[in-house]
Amino acid sequence: MTEGMPAAVTLPPSQVEELLRTLVKGLRAFQMYLPNNPVYQRAGHNVRAAFQPLWASGLDRLTLQIVETDIVWEEQVVYHQPNKSESLAWTLFKDGMRVLTLFPGVEEEEIVKFLDIVQRARTLAADAGDDLLTLLWEQDFALVQYHFTEFTTDANVPGLSGEGAYSVAPPTDPNVVESQKEDTRGKVQEEAPPRKSGVVDVEDFDSTLYWLDEAEIRAIAEAVAREYAQDLRSNVLNILFDIVEQRDEPWARSDTFSTMETYLPHVLNAGDFRSVALILRETRLLVRQQELLRADERERLDSLTGRLSEPAVLQQILQSVTEAQTPPTEDDLGELFRELRPAGLETVMVWLPKLPPASAVSVLLASSADRLAETSPNEVLRLLRLPESESLPSIISLCGRLKLQAAVPGLSDTLGHALASIRLAGVLALDGIGTPTALSALERPVDDADREVRIAAVQALGRRGYKGALRRIEPVVQGKVPREIDLTERMRFFEAYALIAGNAALEGLTAMLSSGGLFKRKETPEVRACAALAIGRLKTPESREVLQRYKDDKELVVRTAVSRALRETGS
């Protein structure tokens, strides 16, 4: 029944039915759209409008009974939805709501909040710690009232002592009663000190106890503010690590480790890298304390950190780092990346190229990758031998940049990769390393099927003056290799030849430049030009002298090459 409704109010139930229909539609709209969406806003408007006829009729409150899948007003069913999963009534009923009362003004703000809570309650997981009542309570509604039934049956609620009967049954025999009274009176008089003048001694208490002074009130307010400003995750993590240090019972530590293992995903899921960093930092310190933890405990704790480097986990971490609305601080990220294990290298190398090069994340992650590669040659070799790995180009490049000599065998393997781009990267990396072994590995790509790879290898070998390569380069220079090569590639071979052979190459090259004499093979102008450029690379007085002789050659291409070579030699 609607309490407090003036007798004169005549409101057809259809109005209430219409309101409930609108509320249900609103509930759907609020569920599907964001507040800035026109559909959401229209639904809000409709809900507000639907209340107007009710209040205009003089109704001072709308009291609805919730009966399973029905809502009843004034003993009439005004809402019926037998399908429980769709029923507003059932959503309210199943958590115990039996009466819902709405007051005028509820349509302004509270009804939307109310429907929002109803929607949240609908979607709660079965083991959620909240239900409709607890969620509604938190809102502290002023214009929405509700009555709930409690879960606990009376049988579970203990009676309070003294309920129904005295804990100590009073005697009934008048003689006993009188005797007891006498006895009690005597005890009271014996125990009580002499009667005082009517007031408690001021010495008995400190009257200032009854009041908190301004400073105390301020201190409390500040403490409450600190309570809510604190980093609770860090706080509880410190507690867990304290427990590990203080309790040496194996089961206690095992329980704590289990808790941490379960907790870590929560922290990651929350994007709380500060806490992740704390876990890593504290774990590192604990694992180092040989005397504190047993070997199996150290191993287990260590594996907690190790999990972060597992490809699937690390991929999630990097994804959340890059997508975080509030980016983690460099310190926290540094802490996290510093703890990455070799198992994470592949994932790191996949992610690195995707990051903005100058970003803090990229710089910190690259630094972590460098550390991992330098300290984990086996992992580097393993990755270099994964031809399908997405990380291969990055790891090859990293090896070169870091001049990782231990990576040379792996890099050599990459020179046989099916993709020219990988072979090229391998060449560049080996060039970067530049050790005899690395240069030796570069001989093979001189004959690579790909022009770019060949050029890169030849350039590298030439620049390094690796004499071992002469046996592959010289035949090309001398035209003994039946290969179609363009001018640029030929030039690189000539230059490399000069750089490797040095003055010993001058005679042969001069012969090529001077092409066309008696008994001499006639070289094409392009070959002569290449020879000129190669001579220029020798940078000796003899080479300059040779070039001077051909600066006015009749072939334009030769003259141009000679001029350039002379410029490069500084003449």
Partner: protein, 492 residues
């Protein structure tokens, strides 16, 4: 009523004191109504008037002989005769209402009739009552004074009238609040018991129930903290772990309210307080309930409950998110403000305000309770004094002050001897802040040494006589066991 029913009713009345009082009280009240009506309608010489006075005298004697005194008390919509509530029935309610209305008009809350009352005194009493009520108007304390004066002038020595102890609405409200409080408290204990037992047995438990219980406690403390605070005096030895958790929750929320925490902050605090000892669910029951002193090893085991609580809460299912604040409080509540308690803090830590509040509530409730390894509880005032004066206890002094501010220097549940040689139980702080050292007391033993059954007789120690002297003052705090008083009985 059929004869058979009436017969059965008489038999019942004889067998029970309450039933006798109900019957005799009803007869007395009806006789008073009849006499009042007769004197209003007829001159005093009229036979009907005379007979009605005879009947009233007879009815009063029927009560006075076995009881020694008649106390007719009006409380809300109820009438009590010597502490027993009269049942209103269709055939008598109008008579009762009429009499009550007449008494209320003169601001009479209690009518006392002593042995030795004479018929003539009734005649004068009713005559003055009729004369004064004929003026109409609202209840007025001035008219009560006039009523008393005129009774004194007429030498009416065996009939006294006193003002209401509290306003009727307040009484009714207090009664309702007490009922709600009892439900809230019992429910809190049941939920806590279920939670602790579930943890002990490794079963999943409903956190929703816990949240609902705490929300109800917060609501109750915000609406009427006194009624719920009174229930914290219940000391159920067998249910100590559960009642203690609920008590700490209530005290913490009440302290939080004193400190002006918001409703949601009180909720957070209440949850933390209710769960602060959840780690005890993992302490062996034989240690937890050991009645003799604990060995050193057992003490060490007891001292593990804070961190066991941490792990328990971490793994408690059903929280939308991990209950961080509750974990921190479970861990810190025995640490002491200077961190010299247990468990020791290795990493830098400052005890949070919620932990400090719960520590104060916990320390107070634990010390004032008889439990397995503390068979003699310490009196509340001594506990407060120790908490306040001994810094080594490690309680936040500001919060101890807040607790004292909340429950007074004589806290709710203190058993006190008054300078009247009455013994009572402190039921609440004085609503008048000028009399914080003069709490409300429920008299349990009267001046004659007679036990006054629950809920006792409410006395405001700030009440003064005409000369400004206090009617009652506390002279000593005593042990209720000495007088066979079960403090909790006076709050339920």
């Amino acid at each position: 009523m059929s004869r058979e029913h009436e017969h059965a009713g008489m038999a019942e009345e004889k067998s029970s004191g309450d039933a006798f009082l109900r019957h005799a009280g009803r007869t007395f009240l009806l006789a008073m109504y009849t006499a009042l009506r007769s004197l209003k309608l007829y001159p005093i010489e009229n036979a009907t008037a005379q007979k009605s006075l005879d009947d009233l005298q007879t009815a009063s004697l029927a009560l006075l002989e076995p009881q020694g005194e008649i106390e007719l008390r009006l409380s809300g919509d109820f009438i009590f005769v010597n502490g027993t509530r009269l049942r209103l029935e269709l055939d008598n309610y109008a008579s009762f209402s009429n009499t009550l209305a007449a008494l209320r008009t003169l601001d009479v809350g209690t009518l006392r009739v002593a042995t030795g009352v004479e018929r003539k005194e009734w005649q004068i009493f009713l005559g003055v009552l009729l004369a004064l009520t004929a003026r109409g108007g609202d209840p007025d304390p001035e008219r009560l004074i006039e009523f008393r004066d005129r009774l004194a002038l007429g030498s009416v020595n065996h009939i006294e009238v006193d003002p209401p102890l509290e306003s009727e609405d307040k009484v009714a409200e207090a009664e309702k609040a007490r009922e709600v409080a009892k439900r809230t408290y019992s429910h809190g204990v049941a939920v806590t018991k279920d939670l602790i037992n579930s943890v002990r047995l490794g079963r999943t438990t409903s956190i929703t129930k816990v949240k609902r219980a705490v929300q109800a406690i917060v609501d109750q403390v915000l609406n009427n903290e006194t009624s719920l605070l009174g229930l914290t005096t219940i000391r159920d030895y067998d249910e100590y772990t559960f009642t203690h958790s609920v008590n700490v929750c209530i005290l913490s929320v009440a302290i939080g309210k004193k400190l002006s925490l918001t409703r949601l902050q009180l909720y957070d605090l209440g949850l933390a307080a209710l769960l602060h000892d959840v780690g005890k669910a993992r302490i062996p029951v034989d240690v937890l309930n050991k009645s003799t002193g604990l060995t050193e090893d057992e003490w060490k085991m007891m001292q593990t409950h804070p961190w066991l609580g941490v792990l328990t809460l971490f793994n408690m299912r059903g929280y939308g998110e991990i209950p961080y604040r509750q974990i921190v409080v479970a861990h810190e509540h025995h640490m002491k403000t200077d961190l010299t308690g247990y468990p020791k803090a290795i990493r830098p830590r400052e005890m949070g305000i919620f932990s400090r509040i719960v520590a104060v509530a916990d320390g107070y409730d634990a010390a004032t309770t008889r439990r397995s390894y503390q068979t003699v509880p310490i009196q509340p005032d001594q506990v407060l004094r120790e908490m306040w004066e001994n810094p080594r206890r490690g309680y936040d002094p500001v919060l101890v002050k807040a607790l004292i501010n909340l429950i007074g220097i004589y806290p709710v549940g203190s058993c006190v001897i008054l300078d009247t040689f009455e013994v009572g139980v402190v039921s609440g702080a004085n609503p008048d802040q000028n009399f914080m050292n003069r709490p409300m007391v429920r008299i349990c033993i009267d001046v004659n040494g007679a036990l006054v059954g629950p809920p006792g007789m409410e006395a405001n120690l700030a009440a003064q006589d005409g000369a400004g002297a206090f009617l009652r003052s506390i002279v000593k705090v005593t042990n209720p066991d000495r007088y066979g008083i079960i403090v909790g009985d006076y709050f339920v």
